[in-house]
Assembly symmetry: C2
Homo-oligomer: 352 residues x 2
């Protein structure tokens, strides 16, 4: 059997951190090549090529400064050079660049290649949803799983204890990915349910917003836990409802991608923080973003709007009263306190 070789498609903060974890792990795995190839968008940093810097200084000075990288990580400016020499592909680019990057790879992927997505979010289009793994499988015709969980790139780079979940329907390949990622500070477990896992990765941002609303109202931990719990249940129900017969399992909610990610996001992170500020200041979310986020967009507010559109198209607002209510609160169609009575008449409001 020839060796497996990992290629990282992306080289941002999380991509570089993942490359580092994998590069250290594969040194001890007999069936993996020691080299990890990393596709890197070749921008200039202080007039010099980032690819060249990574390959000479062995540090991603732009996206993971201060962390030495093993010399076995080799950066490439051309994605084709990575995918036509690596058969284990890690996708870790911002969602908006996915489709064009995949197009560049068509026809250059090695036979029998497999992928894993570390990309947050799903694709929303006209009230329909496509999972990132489905997009990759559709475009490249390779099997693709995903890794999601309460993992923050810099914590992992600092070797602080975090967890994550590998989802791959095929057990053998899933275990390959598990071995590539799992290490003493990054505890990874494997499941088969790629659907519920990716749904939690998207909807957790909405639940985190709700956690921030409760914080903004100045209420206690029991009230916050109650709202988070309702959100936790709706995440699971949404996966089951939108993708019936795709192996959605309640057990997935007990994994890092479920419980871990929802809890961590609802107590930390910018969705929670902005929602608290939203309640306390009475400003719109657009203003809160402008005040706090330095040009970034709030994932939870965007996701709530998109999910609301999906529910509306399918006449299913009342099946997911909490998520729908969060969107109506975000849009200032009802006050934050409405969150405590998500089944009320406000759900009949007309909102686009």
């Amino acid at each position: 059997m020839s060796l497996k070789r990992v290629g990282i498609i992306g080289s941002g903060n999380w991509g570089t951190t993942a490359a580092r974890v994998i590069a250290e792990n594969v040194q001890n795995l007999d069936d993996f090549d020691n080299t990890v190839k990393m596709w890197c968008f070749d921008e200039k940093v202080n007039g010099e090529s980032l690819v060249k810097i990574i390959n000479t200084v062995h540090e991603n000075v732009k996206y993971l400064p201060g962390y030495p990288l093993p010399e076995t990580i080799v950066a490439y400016a051309d994605v084709v050079e990575v995918c036509n020499t690596c058969n284990y592909l890690v996708f870790v680019i911002p969602h908006q660049f996915l489709e064009e990057t995949l197009k560049d790879m068509i026809g250059h992927v090695l036979p029998g290649s497999v992928g894993i997505s570390l990309i947050k979010g799903v694709t929303f289009l006209d009230g329909e949803i496509e999972l990132v793994t489905d997009t990759i499988e559709r475009v490249l015709k390779i099997k693709c799983g995903s890794l999601m969980g309460a993992n923050i790139a810099n914590d992992i780079a600092n070797r602080e204890y975090c967890e994550s979940t590998v989802a791959f329907p095929n057990e053998e390949i899933g275990n390959d990915w598990l071995r590539a990622f799992d290490c003493y500070y990054f505890h990874v477990e494997r499941i088969q349910d790629i659907v519920c896992q990716q749904v939690c990765g998207t909807l957790k941002n909405i639940i985190a917003t709700a956690g921030g609303l409760v914080d903004g109202l100045g209420l206690g931990q029991s009230t916050k836990a109650a709202i988070m719990r309702r959100g936790f249940v709706e995440c699971y129900k949404f996966a089951e409802w939108y993708w019936p017969n795709r192996g959605v399992k309640i057990e997935t909610m007990m994994e890092s991608c479920g419980f871990g990610d929802i809890v961590a996001s609802s107590y930390g992170g910018r969705n929670r923080k902005c929602a608290e500020y939203f309640v306390k200041t009475g400003k719109t979310f657009a203003q809160c973003e402008a005040d706090l986020l330095n040009g970034q967009k709030l994932q939870g507010v965007l996701a709530a709007a998109e999910i609301y559109r999906v529910l509306k198209k399918k006449n299913a607002i009342k099946l997911f009263p909490l998520i729908s209510t969060i969107h109506l609160i975000d849009r200032m169609k009802c006050p934050p306190q409405t969150i405590f009575h998500p089944d009320g008449e406000h759900l009949d409001i007309e909102v686009d």
Copy 2:
């Protein structure tokens, strides 16, 4: 059909709050008598009988001061006067008084009576465990369910939004209890699994200790969520392992008694707080209790010690590595950081 009548066995902070919720609810329920009888240990408050004060001033000035009670709540000094006139009995006394109170009731309980336990904890005896509902069923020969969740008496007394879970194997009786408790600020859902529910009510204090250890180490939300998640999983596995064939369901973990209570306790409450102080000061837990708790005992530390004894007796330490490790940390047999690697060799340490 004759009317159901609720009797509250206990009149502390939570008992009085529960009596108030129920007394308000039954006014609107045709099949319940409007009167709620409450057994009250008749201590003296400023030289006067607490029973008399409650029945004249309509306030529990000792345990729920400042909250007017409906006149339909009537206090009694003799538990027999409550149980021989009420067929829906709410048990809400400190665990250490349960057995003697039940003995006083033997022979005086109305035929066909049903109970519900709001009592935290389980009975530990020589490495064996008895659920509170099982104790009540054994002594009084009545069917008994329980109500557990992330509900803090004073929050509910203030009509702040909280949740809870009624567990009763019999659907009809369970729904009676649901109607007695559920109201607009106290959201109650019903399940049948009384085992997992009560296990979570006990083990959540251990997980909360772990949450406090992570806080004490100064680590972030992802790390904390990862440890809580492992504890969440062990709660479920413990219920399934100790009580096979008693209807333990993973769905129970998604209820307020599971997710809600574990999350709320790990972010609020005294177990979390003392564990944080334990790490930061390096004092023993006995010293931390003395410093912070005004004579009270830490439930999480006690429960961890008892569960460890159960696991040791059954040679099952390694089936529950996190809970076992928490006990060893509590006892200072290994440092707090061991929590990140609960499967290690420290589990072979001899501890009683």
